[in-house]
Symmetry: C2
């Protein structure tokens, strides 16, 4: 049922985090009504939206009540149980991306199997049950070994770097985590190919970016990836396109890639706006948030071209100790007139993603230095 | 009292129209809490904001209750009575711009007098009481004569083009409108100089734009004004700067100008985000809406530089007869991937400002054609 005032479709977002917040912000321009299913009224998106339902994303009753007021339902995170999603689909709800696609981000082992079947390069991996399984894998493929939880991980959680047999035993002795292990790939750098796809099949891909991680958390993104060869850029987009089509992804798909001496290897997938696409708000004609809304509503996709030679995005992670009030720190960051600040309205906590900063420019070094300085000023550590 | 979660100041906007809507949208990025005092829950800004008070902007009680939850109060329109604004200031509320500045947009005759005293070129004008006063003015300065209501006019309302004595008599016979009359200036075109000013005095001016009016309503804006000489551009910004400083304007000031064979003449002032600045959302590093929020909160101002050689903004005005559903028309406009759509969530009515479209590009003709076509598609007349 379209919005009674505007006659435009109502977009429901399950989850009230910063991705929903920025999608709502983008959707305002299109005149779209966004409804958010939040855990709490103080959630990042719930603070700034006029149409918030508070409920439990694991409850089919809450999901059904929410979906009844939406034309299309999409997501801020991957955590809605597949069984609940399938029930919504059976009810006739337009769930985008659908559970048949989301299954591959909800179970990383399934994703690995599917990508291998598609002939996509992934790190050597295997399912493990016991410490001996891990040790056998490490002895074959070399240590350290990367152990991953099959589901629920993000921002470095659910990933363990195991140096050798004793680390393997310690992890397994923690108990009931469903694990698989991967070879640690020798990488040149990390890249991400991000695109959006409509139900009609139309696709639009942003320039391939370089992502910089620290402790498994994305800290910086450079768009486009500096000195990436046109061949590799094309290969990355082709890879993401193949995955989007094979997995029938609707909305934004982010493919995190390892650039290795031998070519591209797929690391992770996300089927929603992703940290590696935040630069697009200020750096592209069409942001990933607007594009996600357009894609899931089956509206024509916008131009993903960059608006500047370089865009650098730096994440704001909560600091251990902070100097200055929030207003003082914001003013300090904004003292550079080219700095674009994005704050998520979240309470401060060490290591928490509180916002990001973007700077566009003609020269990478200066652009990056400005973005980093602004984040230090926002953090209150500088 | 800053927001309890973010520690950042709370910005109150009196009025729930599209200017408040777009200011809220911009403020989301800065992590700022925006509160809106709307006439009704269905108002343009109220639809998309999480913090809406419904009340009467003419009621000092409603204004006081609203201001109590805000750190700074600013405006979506000029219609809050000066006496109420002065009472808020006496209460200690940070009202920006202040009543001493807003007085000049609330009473156009006062504005004319003040600008003349500043030595700023304005059209020849005089206060009139009777039809004979108008006729005497017309016989001296030539017909037609422009009659304006001293207050309350906007978008062509409160402005009358009088061909001769009988039109003057007809207008005056309508009764109790406080009028003044102006010489109709022979213009080359209309321009606007838009800037923002902080309480500290810092100023930032966008490139000077050309505005195109139809029946007194802005229909199109081209940024920057094509083929404007650097001297005239500089003069326009200097003029706006002088006015902003003399009138102590805080926030965005738009100065509507006539370009004549003899130079620049000031037509109107607005002390808030203005239609002539809508292009800046997509066409400038810092939009007028973000800049207004930064200015009234005394945060450092952002870079007002253009991001493309040309930006064309075309207003979407409600059509008399419409073909297609709102969703179909939106999809049709978005079929051009470079088109940026901004809808205000307002019910359709002939002539009503329902949204705008922006296109950025390297070549003016193509950029303008795309923007105009998109608006025709959104209107449903094409």
């Amino acid at each position: 049922m379209p919005d009674p005032v505007t006659g435009l479709p109502v977009l429901g977002i399950v989850g009230g985090g910063q991705l929903a917040r920025m999608t709502h912000q983008a959707a305002i321009a299109l005149g779209l009504s966004v409804r958010v299913l939040a855990d709490e009224p103080a959630d990042s998106a719930a603070q700034v939206s006029g149409a918030v339902s508070v409920g439990d994303y694991r409850s089919i009753d809450d999901l059904r009540a929410f979906a009844a007021s939406c034309d299309v339902v999409t997501f801020d995170h991957e955590h809605v149980p597949g069984v609940a999603l399938r029930m919504l689909v059976a009810d006739g709800v337009a769930v985008r991306p659908g559970p048949h696609s989301l299954a591959y981000t909800q179970d990383k082992q399934l994703m690995r199997e599917r990508l291998e079947a598609l002939g996509v390069a992934v790190p050597a991996w295997r399912t493990v049950e016991t410490a001996d399984d891990i040790i056998a894998f490490g002895d074959t493929h070399g240590w350290p070994v990367v152990a991953k939880a099959r589901s629920g991980g993000y921002d470095g959680r659910g990933v363990w770097m195991l140096d050798g047999p004793s680390a393997a035993q310690a992890l397994v002795s923690q108990g009931n985590i469903r694990l698989y292990v991967e070879q640690r790939v020798a990488i040149v750098r990390e890249l991400a190919a991000v695109l959006a796809r409509r139900p009609s099949g139309d696709l639009a891909a942003w320039p391939v970016v370089e992502t910089v991680q620290s402790d498994g958390i994305c800290v910086e993104v450079i768009a486009p990836a500096p000195a990436l060869t046109p061949e590799l850029a094309q290969e990355a987009v082709a890879l993401a396109t193949r995955i989007a089509e094979a997995l029938d992804v609707i909305g934004v798909l982010a493919v995190e890639l390892f650039e290795t001496a031998d070519g591209l290897v797929v690391n992770e997938l996300a089927m929603r706006p992703h940290n590696s696409g935040h630069w697009s708000i200020d750096g592209s004609v069409t942001s990933q948030f607007e594009q996600h809304a357009r894609a899931v509503l089956d509206l024509p996709l916008g131009d993903p071209s960059a608006v500047a030679p370089y865009t650098v995005m730096v994440n704001l992670l909560g600091a251990d100790t902070v100097v200055g009030t929030p207003a003082e720190r914001l003013a300090s960051a904004l003292a550079d007139p080219r700095v674009r600040v994005h704050l998520y309205g979240k309470g401060e906590r060490p290591g928490r993603k509180l916002g990001h900063v973007t700077v566009t420019g003609d020269e990478l070094g200066d652009t990056r230095a400005r973005a980093r300085l602004a984040v230090e000023r926002l953090r209150g550590t500088g």
